[in-house]
């Protein structure tokens, strides 16, 4: 059996090519698969649900407009995350700042007393962090990252993109991506470990 080039192509890129050829159902399938992912990705960057949806709509509009000149050179995910990252960064620059998470406790002077509360007897740290307070702590730590470190960390940790795909999405080298992730991890450790050690 002879393999055609489409057999080796990323299935999402193949859908985009189908959409390029006039199949509007392919666009609907891409929308079904990526709407939640893109909204969540932008939400983690801008930290505003309404703004995230507005920017996610803009991302899909750009995909729609770019159907004529799309070339499946990389995974579709890397391409659409690149659009989303660029839009988020531009929006943040236009608004003059990257929004930071400000929990009520900190505004009231109660910051610093938060601790990660164990919610599961198992020793796995990931399973222990399901409470809303823990989520707020993590959200604040992620929002405190510099924007490029934040995007690299989110794409690696939440969207499971490879270093190569992240470099495509961020328009930089793989070495730069690894540096962003390394620095991001160090920042996160500095922000989260005091709370984690306070619990243990």
């Amino acid at each position: 059996m002879v393999e055609s080039p489409m057999d080796q192509m990323d299935p999402d890129a193949a859908l985009m090519v189908e959409f390029q050829n006039g199949n509007n159902d392919a666009f609907e399938q891409l929308l079904d698969k990526y709407d939640k992912l893109i909204v969540n990705f932008i939400y983690k960057i801008v930290n505003d649900r309404g703004r995230a949806e507005e920017l996610a709509q803009e991302v899909f509009l750009r995909v729609y407009r770019a159907r004529g000149r799309y070339e499946p050179r990389a995974r579709f995910a890397a391409w659409i995350y690149r659009i989303a990252a660029n839009l988020s960064l531009k929006a943040a620059a236009r608004e003059g700042r990257m929004p930071r998470y400000e929990p009520k406790q900190e505004r009231d002077g109660g910051g610093g007393s938060e601790r990660f509360e164990p919610s599961d007897p198992r020793p796995d740290a990931e399973n222990q962090l399901i409470g809303s307070e823990n989520a707020a702590l993590v959200q604040r730590a992620v929002q405190s990252l510099p924007k490029k470190e934040r995007i690299a960390v989110i794409l690696r940790r939440f969207e499971n993109l490879s270093y190569k795909e992240i470099s495509v999405a961020m328009n930089c080298t793989e070495a730069a991506v690894k540096t962003y992730i390394h620095r991001g991890k160090l920042h996160l450790k500095a922000k989260l470990m005091p709370h984690h050690q306070g619990r243990t």
Binding site: Q57, V138, K178, H182
Partner: protein, 183 residues
Amino acid sequence: MRCNTARRLISTADDLRPQPAAELAEHLHECADCARLRAELDIAWQLIRAHPETEPSATFRAGLRKRLTQEERSFGRPWPLKPVLGWQWMALAAGALVLAVLFTSDLVVYQPRIREVQLSKTDNYDDQFLDDLQRTLRDFELEYLPAYDSWPVSLLETPDRDPSESSPQDGTPKKGGNRHEGA
């Protein structure tokens, strides 16, 4: 492997080739500080999984479809209402206007021009009349006016000249002598 190298590689150890990965593992086995750093980074990496997630609202798809429909309509129009360029378009138009004014300034600013006077038929007749008059006066002068020597005869005579040739009536004008210029 040194600690500095190991700490640089710890965060992205999942992407290392077999040789550096083995060297890093050996170093972490021997160095407690680097092993502790790696453990803490791993914990922080796990902790951020607790970041809250969100679901697209019910209006997300409807809003997107509305914007897509508007996009379709604007694509269908021969001349989209939305300008292709924003402020660049205005800057381009302003520049073109300035250039147009510069190149056509002699049309806008009044500059009187010296026109070549066209002679009328009457003017031509006048010129002809004046030429004829001048020619007539010149001919009349040549034909009819006598020529006078303004110099006294005594001055015209040379010393070795025979005095008997001279006229006894000095100062009498002689016809056909030197003409007075400009008479």
